[in-house]
């Protein structure tokens, strides 16, 4: 019994190309919207945020907390390493796409070490050898080549993003090595673990947001946009004007 992959390669590439075109189109018209230029869909986004908040609070956060409380650290570290290794692979690709050869070389070394001696990424051999992780992704590559971030979006069960970064994320998922796993059940378990890993990593952050912010929606939006801008400029973003 062979399970069918959900997308054939041809359809996958069509989806990818379609999403890139959509980004370019949406990013282009974003700057002309009224109100806040970076969040023209604020009312919709706020509604999405309001939907997401209780779901996260009563479902995903407790699950992530239970995962941290009951699953031994060595297993959680292995799972985190596995996904980091895939991120590193994409960091190689995106380093190359931006001409950052040193960074790409570093990340390539990490992927080689962690995939083979590190057993498919489960053991982070490269970090033990002191090779730092790069942190490049498709959203940053688009930004590097001057594509605007486009409207800010808050997606329930996913979180803050922009049209540009969301498109990058779609590419990352569609091209992920995980999609090559033929067994749907195994693949879905891996996706589930990936989500769990991401949420578990963010446990500390969400409690800080609720304590520090006057309006969590605004707080998350500004923090996300600042962070992405910083990553696009590799840690040296141009300064904001006083009233931005």
């Amino acid at each position: 019994m062979t399970a069918q992959p959900s997308f054939t390669p041809a359809i996958r590439h069509l989806l990818v190309m379609g999403s890139v075109v959509a980004t370019l189109a949406l990013s282009g018209c974003a700057t002309t919207g009224g109100g806040r230029t970076d969040d023209p869909f604020e009312p919709v986004n706020r509604a999405m945020y309001a939907i997401n908040d209780p779901i996260d609070k009563y479902v995903f956060k407790p699950i992530a907390q239970a995962y941290v409380d009951y699953v031994p650290p060595i297993i959680r570290t292995g799972i985190n390493n596995y996904f980091n290794n895939i991120d590193d692979l994409f960091s190689v690709v995106n380093g190359l796409l931006q001409g950052k050869l040193d960074k790409a070389g570093n990340d390539m070394g990490r992927v080689m070490l962690n995939t083979f001696p590190g057993i498919l990424g489960l053991i982070d051999v490269a970090s033990d050898l002191g090779i730092p992780r790069g942190n490049e992704d498709f959203g940053q590559t688009f930004g590097f080549w001057g594509i605007p971030q486009g409207p800010y979006l808050f997606v329930p069960l996913f979180g803050p993003t922009t049209v540009r970064d969301g498109t990058g994320f779609v590419l990352r998922v569609l091209w992920s090595p995980t999609t090559e796993i033929p067994d749907v059940a195994v693949r879905n378990v891996i996706y589930g673990l990936g989500g769990l890993d991401v949420r578990a990593q963010a446990l500390g952050t969400t409690s800080l947001i609720s304590e520090a912010s006057l309006d969590p929606y605004t707080f998350v939006r500004r923090a996300y946009l600042q962070r992405r801008q910083y990553l696009v400029y590799d840690g040296n973003p141009p300064p904001l004007k006083d009233d931005e």
Partner: protein, 205 residues
């Protein structure tokens, strides 16, 4: 006997004053200051038994005496207010500074213990040595994770360099609050913002 004791006390007092003087006179460089304070606080977190036991009163004391004197909350509040700062009356400004300070102290004192085992790597200061606003860069290294850059925005004041912004992984605290303050002011004016800050601080107690 008594005279001797008093003389000794006087001398000891003098010695302390003299020890403190070079720092005050020479105007410690901003990067040296940040590094010294960070190391001092980390040392306390690592060695003080009360801090380790989670004694909130002691933790507050460490923050009040070691960290806060190195912050310029007035400048921080003014930066977070942006152009609205000039619209506020002196009385409103004072309330804003007090409330913002309280909010920051309360929310970030919980994070203090996380500094315990962090390896902080301070970068050499770049830029104009005569500048009155500088950014001191540091990096926190965590095994297996992308390092986090923590930068401190400092302003030169009459009493030495004071921090007016903290930028964690590219997220500036002041810039983040500027959006929040702006939003509150748009819907309820400056008094509305003060009220929101007050009730936030009440709720956190």
């Amino acid at each position: 006997m008594k005279i001797l004791l008093n003389a000794w006390r006087g001398l000891a007092g003098l010695a302390i004053v003299m020890l403190a003087m070079p720092v005050a006179l020479a105007q410690e460089a901003p990067d040296v200051m940040v590094k010294r304070v960070a190391n001092e606080v980390q040392q306390i977190i690592r060695t003080d038994p009360k801090v380790q036991a989670g004694d909130q009163q002691r933790i507050r004391e460490v923050i009040e005496t070691k960290l806060l004197p190195n912050f310029d909350f007035e400048r921080m509040t003014a930066l977070a207010m942006g152009r609205n700062w000039r619209q506020a009356t002196p009385e409103q400004q004072k309330q804003l500074i007090d409330q913002f300070r309280a909010l920051l102290v309360r929310t970030y004192s919980g994070a203090l213990s996380q500094y315990r085992d962090q390896v902080m790597d301070f970068k050499p200061l770049r830029g104009d040595p005569a500048a009155t606003d500088v950014i001191v860069r540091s990096e926190v290294v965590r095994p297996g994770q992308v390092p986090v850059q923590i930068d401190y925005g400092l302003t030169k004041t009459a009493s030495g360099w004071k921090a007016s912004d903290v930028i964690v992984g590219g997220i500036s605290l002041v810039t983040n609050y500027r959006d929040e303050f702006n939003g509150q002011i748009k819907s309820g004016g400056i008094d509305g913002l003060i009220k929101t800050l007050e009730s936030k601080n009440q709720g956190l107690k």
